[in-house]
Symmetry: C2
Subunit: 330 residues, 2 copies
DNA sequence: TCTCAAACTGTAATCGTTTACAGTGACGTC
DNA sequence: GACGTCACTGTAAACGATTACAGTTTGAGA
């Protein structure tokens, strides 16, 4: 392993000078040249562990979420990655397919200093998570619903508004018997979307009851498919909002197999507006929650926080938008 | 920051004893108890930079590929993550949406010791990449086609066999005018799949020419859609193999919009067998390249290599399989 | 030529661990 | 009671960088 000492010897200077050249502080032209030549000749690269130990920074930022199989999180990752690309920070991905237990385990190891900051988008509504986050020594940016009692930088999208847009659109296209195919209720999005749906329905004077909600046990294609398979009597509804686009895809598949015409018999709306939405038959109307943009903003907040630890806490609100496609045609 | 010194003071022992307790070597019962209590009381976590510096290991493994938007790579990431979950290694994701330039940049910084091993699945066929990899000081496992001149642990799937399965199946279901909608030709999969297609066609005595190949400029839905939109006269073919499932989805969309019946007028086969394949209408026959399994094997190879740096180089071959669905019904 | 400030450079301490080695004490044996 | 062994513990030296601080060189001005 070629260390800073080897470079110093080769260039005939002290290690301090080498370090100074690397970090771009004072150095005579000739010294700099000799050091740079030595570095090139030896193929030297500074050891990041030693550097991290000394400067007390790892120059790594950790991104943590629970479902990489969900394209919305992939998009978020892309956003974070882009914002970090031109900085000194590397992106670490942690616990991308995890259960609550795994997240807790991961959070517990975050104190080891291998990351300078944590961007987290927890879907599970578990109390331990909020507690662990609040005890972290490094800056945290939370994407999504802020748990009670926690106060960190935050970027969120008001799903109530999003669901409102959806219900509104269905009502405007003359649907009256509207239901929700919700994702798991022990998750933040699941809980929030259900509440938002209820209040949107009541607000618009539409009939709402417990039976308006079909419960899927995962935010996935098969989750959606199986939920409506079990439920069966979809003719109760003439419009459905789904927990996300994948659930909607599952519902769509079921409808196709069972002769339910979309949008003829039933209008369908998804959430997230992933690529899938535009290639389904019919193409899927979707509430876009702008995941990539939220990732980008989260990374931006993190960079600003790292640059100025004392700045006031920021909460950024991203507006959902409705993308209308064939699945809700009148 | 609470360090090992603080723990030692609290427990009334030396830092060496604390370290020994943590790393599970000799210690008297009472000493161990006092140390563990002190650790708990102070909430101590060992600093990973200091540890990495001393033991010359970062306990991080880097996974590098170029297109996280492709679910096949997400599956691979899941495989790697699972295999690493119960080990001491953390998974870092690098350059997940990258150009050749970015990969080169990343590879150049791999010498800094922030990862103990690199699992890489490069799609671009660029000579610099092979060269940089061969100069790396850490173990590398390559997933995919091995560039010439490189010799590292490798897990690959013989796409020739996969394409062969596809062509075979199309021939068996009475298709004669078979084409390929290929991905970009400057990528490894693109190049390999084209060659494999050509030889499979010739071997089976089917007509092949330059015009049998439609070139898409990305392994994506829009890549497939635009390629066939530009090409137009799809009636030349009665069977198409697509560079991956997303390209196939794009082709399918075009066919739907232009009244080409699948599988009536045209049979369609994708590659990768991602979730999407089973929810398209019609469902898509696909050549499964077992990405998740390859990721798992790659991680396994890496762990074995790290445990025994001297062991002979392994090359593991994963067999592709054909999943037949509606899009190729006779 | 001499002086002094400015510009640069080197020495050495430090970051938080791990670990070789030496030291301590308990205990069984003669 | 002396001694050897064994089990454990502490001291101190690394690992490879950064950075005060002190020391040295340089060059301008007198």
């Amino acid at each position: 392993m070629v260390s800073i000492k080897a470079v110093a010897d080769r260039a005939g200077v002290s290690i301090a000078s080498v370090s100074r050249v690397i970090n771009g502080t004072v150095a005579r032209k000739e010294t700099e040249l000799r050091v740079r030549t030595a570095i090139k000749e030896l193929g030297y690269q500074p050891n990041s562990a030693a550097r991290a130990l000394k400067i007390r920074q790892s120059e790594q930022i950790c991104l943590s979420f629970d479902d990489l199989a969900n394209p919305a999180y992939v998009a978020m990752t892309r956003g974070v990655g882009q914002a970090l690309a031109e900085t000194k920070y590397r992106l670490i991905l942690a616990s991308a397919f995890s259960s609550v237990e795994e997240i807790v385990k991961h959070l517990e190891t975050m104190g080891r200093g291998f990351a300078d900051g944590l961007i987290i988008s927890p879907i599970y509504a578990d109390k331990r998570i909020a507690k662990l986050i609040s005890h972290l020594q490094i800056p945290v940016v939370l994407v999504g619903t802020m748990p009670v009692g926690l106060n960190v930088d935050n970027v969120y999208v008001d799903s109530a508004i999003g669901i409102g847009l959806g219900v509104d659109h269905l009502k405007a296209t003359n649907r009256k018997r509207i239901g929700l195919v919700n994702g798991p209720i022990d998750t933040n999005p699941g809980r929030r979307r259900r509440l938002a749906f209820e209040s949107a329905m009541k607000e618009m004077g539409l009939k709402y009851s417990e039976e308006s909600v079909i419960q899927a046990d995962a935010f996935s294609i098969s989750g959606g498919y199986e939920a409506v398979s079990k439920f069966r009597n979809l003719d109760k509804f003439d419009g459905l909002i789904c927990g996300n686009d994948q659930i909607a895809a599952g519902v769509l598949k079921y409808c196709y197999e069972n002769g339910i015409a979309i949008p003829g018999d039933l209008a369908l709306i998804g959430i997230d507006n992933i690529d899938l939405a535009s290639i389904l038959h019919p193409t899927l109307t979707s509430i876009d929650l702008h995941s990539e943009k939220r990732g980008e903003i989260a990374a931006q907040l993190m960079l600003e926080r790292l640059a100025d630890p004392a700045r006031p806490i920021q909460k950024i609100n991203v507006k959902p938008t409705l993308v209308i496609r064939e699945s809700t045609a009148a």
